[in-house]
């Protein structure tokens, strides 16, 4: 009887092992299939394989091991195992019967006669419980799937030869915005300047290549002819919001500044100072003096008071409303004494006030990047893809430069704005971003941008 018990134990261990291997294979198969499907979906939708999916390739192996452990530990129906061994070895259900009656003393005579019919040699458990065909098929299939998942995930991600990896690019942008910004002449593409063949080729490569995923976004939300736009690295939420909300008249700018200062305990920002300087340079007489005094203010309260004075001064009303920014002309050339490169003029043209301003239509200049004018036509301040001035303020030297990648203010080649515009809802942006691989800080900045747009009603 001890031999019989030993046989039962060996058969049970064998059955557990077979089941463990089978479960491990099933777990691994299912997980590998899921990983492959995930990789396939990402490859189709975004043409890239995210790192987390690549890491998920470890899951089939992990779950296969888990399945093996579960298959080994979980209880097993010994009677069924013995019946299968009986059938395989043609033992006439002796093992099954012995398993049921072997422990009852009253059945001992029968048990002895049943056991006498067992083969004299020890039962070969591998012959008794071999892998069945369907089990072998599962194991082989699982192995194939797992190897395929690993092989697919091992394919290196597509790296753009034109630019550094995305993370490094993001770091470079942030650092450059503070104090290591490259020379604007090196980073800004000036369409008006002739380029050497080598430079032209380089820029052409940059236009056709994908520095990083922002250009994909732009390609989806902009007309084709605007896809090669230059981008501005100033991605702070304040600036972005300001640009989004900007209007081009001096009165609107002042009200915007007044609203901001009323809500924040802060001074004029560099962008606001630059804008006011541009208006001051374009303005005449009392308005220019008033704006100059505003720029000289050292406290928030003083600034608010001076803004209020300008807005309430009836004598300045006409000029206040007429002085506007113009984005229509995209010459890309800094203009005259205007350091910002923006071309300023009054809404009524040069006839207003009799003084010719540096911002006449047709004059080349740079636009201040703070304000977006996607719906205004002629007679406004022009933003060009040219160098932007350094602005000296309390924050220290603050430089703007243009570079590719931020989906705002594309250089325009004509005075016409596309009918559908470049507006992008938060949901659209979120949908697009979800299909891109972007650093978290960039994602957060973009999200904040659209959140602020939504809150501001723009």
């Amino acid at each position: 009887m001890d031999d019989t018990k030993s046989t039962f134990s060996r058969l049970e261990r064998r059955a557990r092992r077979v089941r463990a291997i089978l479960w491990g294979a099933l777990f691994g198969w299912a997980t590998a299939a899921a990983v492959l499907v995930s990789i396939g979906i990402h490859a189709v939708l975004s043409r890239t394989i995210p790192y987390d999916v690549q890491i998920a390739v470890c899951a089939p192996l992990t779950l296969a091991a888990l399945g093996y452990v579960i298959g080994s530990v979980r209880s097993i129906d010994v009677a069924r195992v013995l019946l299968r061994a009986d059938v395989t070895l043609d033992l006439d259900a002796r093992l099954t019967t012995l398993h049921e009656i072997g422990w009852q003393p009253s059945m001992e005579p029968i048990a002895r006669r049943v056991a006498a019919g067992l083969p004299p040699d020890s039962i070969n458990v591998r012959q008794a419980l071999p892998f069945r065909l369907r089990e072998l098929m599962v194991i082989v299939t699982a192995a194939v799937f797992t190897v395929a998942a690993i092989a697919v995930a091992a394919i290196p991600p597509r790296v753009d030869p034109a630019g550094p990896p995305l993370a490094e690019e993001g770091v470079a942008i942030v650092e450059g915005a503070v104090d290591e910004s490259p020379d604007p002449s090196e980073t800004i593409v000036d369409d008006s300047e002739p380029m050497s063949p080598e430079v032209a080729e380089t820029h052409e490569d940059e236009d056709t290549a994908e520095p990083y995923a922002f250009n994909d976004i732009l390609a989806e939300i902009r007309p084709d002819d605007a896809a090669d736009t230059s981008l501005i690295d100033d991605t702070s939420a304040e600036s972005l919001t300001t640009r989004a909300k900007a209007d081009t008249s001096l009165e609107d700018v002042l009200r915007q500044i007044e609203g901001r200062l009323a809500g924040e305990d802060d001074l004029l920002s560099a962008a606001e100072i630059a804008a006011l300087e541009a208006f001051r340079d374009a303005g005449t007489g009392p308005l220019a003096e008033t704006l100059d005094s505003l720029l000289q203010t050292a406290t928030r309260e003083d600034a608010l008071r001076r803004i209020s004075d300008i807005l309430t001064d009836r004598s300045l009303q006409e000029e206040r409303q007429g002085l506007r920014l113009d984005f229509d002309e995209m010459t890309g050339e800094p203009a005259g004494e205007n350091e910002t490169g923006a071309t300023l003029e009054t809404a009524s043209g040069t006839s207003d006030g009799g003084d010719e301003t540096p911002g006449e239509p047709g004059n080349q200049g740079t636009a201040f990047p703070m304000f977006d004018s996607t719906t205004q036509a002629g007679g406004e301040l022009v933003l060009v893809g040219a160098a932007l001035p350094s602005v000296v303020g309390e924050e220290g030297e603050f430089k703007y430069y243009l570079t590719k990648g931020v989906p705002i203010e594309p250089p325009m080649t004509s005075n016409e704005v596309p009918e559908d515009g470049w507006s992008l809802s938060y949901e659209q942006a979120e949908s697009i971003l979800s299909t891109r691989t972007l650093p978290d800080d960039v994602l957060d900045a973009v999200r904040a941008y659209f959140v602020r747009i939504t809150e501001g009603g723009s």
């Binding site: 059938v87 099954t96 005579p109």
Partner: protein, 328 residues
């Protein structure tokens, strides 16, 4: 509890009984086995075959080999129940008249109900109590039949004119149904030789005693069957039902009613008896296979379509056997 000695004694007795029967009966191993199995399991057998194949001889031989009382009832359309079970008759003893029960031919150990389908259903039903409860009720009295007891009924598959097919309730009370086939050439030669040479056929002397048979009955019930085999039998029986999910397609098409639980009981008991007859101490899958058809063939009822298309019930059982596997 079965001892080694009891097991040995039962095996030897059954071996002797089979030898004694085969000295008289030529061939028909399945029929002989079915009769012995039913005898060991307190069951009854329905023998089906054309006349002249030795059915009556088999029953007489069995009764003679076990040394038990044998009776034969020829069923006819005018046979009455009292003709089978007996009746109260008036007797006069010492000048006093009184009713006295006169036992019918059913009071025996081995009863041959020859051409049972020729009697009316009323008379056929008279056998039901004797076959199932082993008792006979007459008037207000109930009489217990002597054990071992077995009814072997025969019916002729041809000459169906003027016959009364056994109702399903009565069919279900037969543990097994055996078909008596026409003998082969060698068997027929042997039969002719035995009956025409010398003194003809001699019934055998008792090879076993009544106690041997009763002991063998106890041993049969003690034969173990593995739980997985018991489940297997249940699955087989369920698969004969057209509404079962494991039923073969032909069963679903042609069967009106499948085997009853009594069929499953009969199958397991028959398998145990078969194992003992084979000298084994436990039920094997082969034992179940050997008695599967004879235990269930008379328990399936064809539907109209099955009857119209002349579907063979044994072929349906073959489908069931093929479909239901021991190891799932």
């Amino acid at each position: 509890m079965i001892t080694e000695a009891q097991l040995e004694r039962a095996s030897n007795a059954l071996s002797s009984l089979q030898t004694a029967i085969r000295q008289v009966i030529v061939g028909q191993p399945d029929v002989i086995r079915a009769a012995l199995i039913a005898f060991l399991c307190r069951g009854n057998v329905l023998l089906e075959g054309v006349p002249g194949l030795g059915k009556t001889l088999l029953v007489r031989t069995l009764a003679s080999a076990v040394g038990l009382r044998y009776s034969r009832i020829q069923f006819t359309p005018d046979l009455m129940p009292a003709d089978i079970i007996g009746t109260d008759i008036i007797t006069e003893t010492d000048g006093r008249r009184q009713f006295e029960f006169s036992a019918g031919p059913v009071f025996a150990n081995v009863v041959l109900a020859d051409e049972v389908n020729r009697a009316t259903p009323k008379t056929q039903s008279a056998l039901l109590e004797a076959m199932e409860e082993r008792t006979v009720s007459v008037g207000k009295s109930t009489y217990t039949l002597d054990e071992p007891y077995i009814v072997l009924a025969t019916q002729n598959p041809i000459e169906m004119e003027g016959t009364y097919p056994l109702p399903e309730a009565q069919l279900d009370r037969f543990m097994l149904k055996a078909t008596v086939h026409f003998p082969s050439l060698d068997e027929l030669s042997q039969i002719v030789e035995r009956t025409t040479e010398g003194i003809g056929i001699q019934l055998p002397e008792p090879a076993v005693t009544r106690d041997d048979i009763l002991l063998a009955r106890d041993v049969v019930r003690g034969i173990p069957i593995a739980d997985s085999l018991r489940t297997y039998v249940s699955r087989l029986v369920l698969a004969t039902h057209p509404e079962s999910k494991n039923a073969p397609d032909r069963v679903r098409q042609f069967v009106e009613y499948g085997a009853s639980p009594r069929g499953a009981i009969a199958l397991i008991l028959a398998a145990k008896a078969h194992a003992l007859l084979e000298g084994e101490a436990h039920v094997r899958p082969a034992d179940i296979e050997n008695v599967f058809r004879s235990a269930l063939v008379h328990r399936l009822i064809l539907n109209f379509r099955g009857e119209a298309e002349g579907i063979s019930i044994p072929s349906l059982l073959d489908d069931v056997w093929s479909k239901v596997q021991l190891v799932q």
